[in-house]
Symmetry: C2
Subunit: 341 residues, 2 copies
DNA sequence: CTGAAAGCGCTTACAG
DNA sequence: CTGAAAGCGCTTACAG
């Protein structure tokens, strides 16, 4: 055994404690951890036994310092005031944390100064706590991707980087397909005309969803004059816009919306006319938020957990996803799109 | 100046780079960072200038290793399937991240194996990534507090630790006061009778909220027979319970609920009777979720951001809050508790 | 007030 | 297959 090291009771065991307990040098313990193939089978087993017995876990800071890598990625978080209904980004944060390949990488949430977001990224990177980033909520003229590219910082994005079509390190949910599928579902359910309630033209996400509707209408040979309406993300405006839309729709009609909030306005407008959502007028939302669940609203559901897993894959094993990934959303069907009830 | 160190372009500057640029030893740079009072004013300024010029940020892993402290705390996160409506805990995670005293501490979200949660805490602590934890969602017979206490691991809790009344390191929101305030608001608004829709007796949180209602009813001298109903956290059951409750309430009545979901059931029940929420029957929910905002539901709002700030205070500067902190919720008033509209 | 020394817990060539 | 050496970037006594 050689000489025992005096271990302070309660202090966490180090690699040296394991080494002396197993009667080997600390390099051998490190090899057991990092290069088990280079260690003789019986040594391996003996060391492993001591690791388990002592409950040894490598000190991550020491590993990070020595390896010159954090094996961690940063994810920007903003105060709740900035958030929209649905909390998709909160959910993504949670799923990223849950699906981190914990033995090799973890996630670090950080909150940059809103006045200089890029400085927050620079600082977090410089602290050595992360090797790169997971981006979300990429906007047009977003300053983050160019900065990251210029400084050769690894990153993936949840959501297309619309400005930089040459970029392929992203995973996104196919809004076009989601809305298109919703229109098909409504027609299958017996509605004969489908209108669209979306945001004003100009946002890439909104325009993509609107095209999903217009393409579906065309391919199904629906009334080509089926109207679309636009509203900002506000419940009262959405109700007004939906009321106008209803005035231009015939009987047996349905409305597909670009968000659950817009759909809530549509539900209200339907009720204001004395009609029943579902039975009289179909309504479908987007994001499958709590509100949709509570209101019995059929809604397009984004596979957020899957997006998080793919983001990790792209970061940790880039060869596995050489191109971008566009996920198919699913449709959570509730009473608002069922004629019989 | 002495000799220049050759710096790889693009590599992050270290304390040694700053030292040679400023013509001092690296210990002096460290003193500038950690004990500026021990450094001569002109040296301080010269070193500080080089720190800014080079954009130097200390390597956190190296500090953690040397100081034998992570200056970080862990926060447990669970997959979204486990979450309830409202996402209060997601919001708390975000607010904890945002309000971290970033120069001295940061938050690390981690996801323990659901089959052995305590092992996840042990592992995270042993890795040296955190010094302690922020607990949330403490349950009765929660195994985490006893384990943390036994191993002398620092922690604070968002939510009382009901099992361990001797524990004082928690911040919580006063549900009793929230419901009591809601009853007062309803009476001020002109409702003459107030019923309560809560969960079945036995949960500490639910019982606390119910007592807020019964105490308010007593102190306001309201109809002492004002009834309470119970329902589990399910929209259909809540609707049924609310319908029964309405049958036992007179005109000009209102219903206070233990959650927004229960309140949604109450809204439904009111409409099913052909009555108008607010104008005919007042309804108040709890948690001020997205659903409440979307439905025009008055709801008790928890000051989550403030709770997060206090949790950090308790961790970083325990003297500031020697006892537990019970925060007063506010009431977000919407149409469902207004008679005139 | 400033700097030389030691060391935090690991990993990575490299020599034996 | 195993171990002695060097070093990642810092901080903390301590000597000058």
């Amino acid at each position: 055994m050689g000489e025992e090291t005096t271990t302070v009771p309660g202090a966490r065991p180090t690699i040296v404690d394991v080494a002396s307990a197993a009667g080997v040098s600390r390099q051998t313990v490190s090899n057991v951890l990092n290069r088990p193939d280079r260690v003789a089978p019986d040594t391996l087993e003996r060391v492993q036994r001591e690791i388990d017995r002592l409950g040894f876990t490598p000190h991550v800071s020491a590993q990070q310092l020595r390896r010159k890598r954090a094996w961690a990625y940063g994810f920007e978080v903003n105060p709740s005031g900035h958030r929209r209904m649905g909390h998709i980004l909160d959910e993504f944060l949670v799923e990223l944390t849950v699906s981190a390949p914990s033995h090799t990488s973890h996630l670090l949430a950080f909150a940059p100064d809103p006045d200089d977001v890029v400085a927050g990224y620079r600082q977090t990177l410089a602290s050595g706590l992360v090797d790169g980033f997971v981006l979300a909520d990429t906007r047009q003229s977003d300053p983050r991707p160019p900065w990251l590219i210029e400084h050769e910082v690894p990153f993936v994005s949840f959501g297309r980087v619309w400005d930089l079509p040459e970029l392929t390190r992203w995973v996104d949910v196919d809004g076009h397909a989601g809305v298109r599928g919703a229109v098909h579902h409504l027609v299958d359910a017996g509605y004969r005309q489908v209108g669209f309630l979306g945001w004003p033209a100009g946002s890439p996400v909104g325009d993509d969803r609107r095209r999903g509707w217009s393409d579906a209408v065309a391919e199904l040979g629906l009334d080509a004059s089926a109207p679309a309406a636009a509203s900002v993300q506000d419940i009262d405006e959405a109700t007004d816009a939906a009321e106008q839309l209803l005035g231009r729709l015939g009987p047996d009609a349905a409305i597909v919306c670009a968000s659950d909030l817009l759909a809530l306005g549509a539900l209200r407008a339907v009720r204001n006319r004395g009609l029943r959502p579902g039975a009289d007028i179909g309504v479908v939302g987007f994001d499958d938020t709590d509100v949709a669940a509570a209101m019995g609203l059929t809604s397009v559901h984004q596979p957020v957990a899957e997006a998080a897993r793919i983001a990790w894959d792209m970061l940790v094993d880039p060869a596995r996803h050489p191109g971008p990934v566009l996920l198919e959303p699913t449709l959570t069907i509730r009473a608002s799109s069922l004629r019989e009830d």
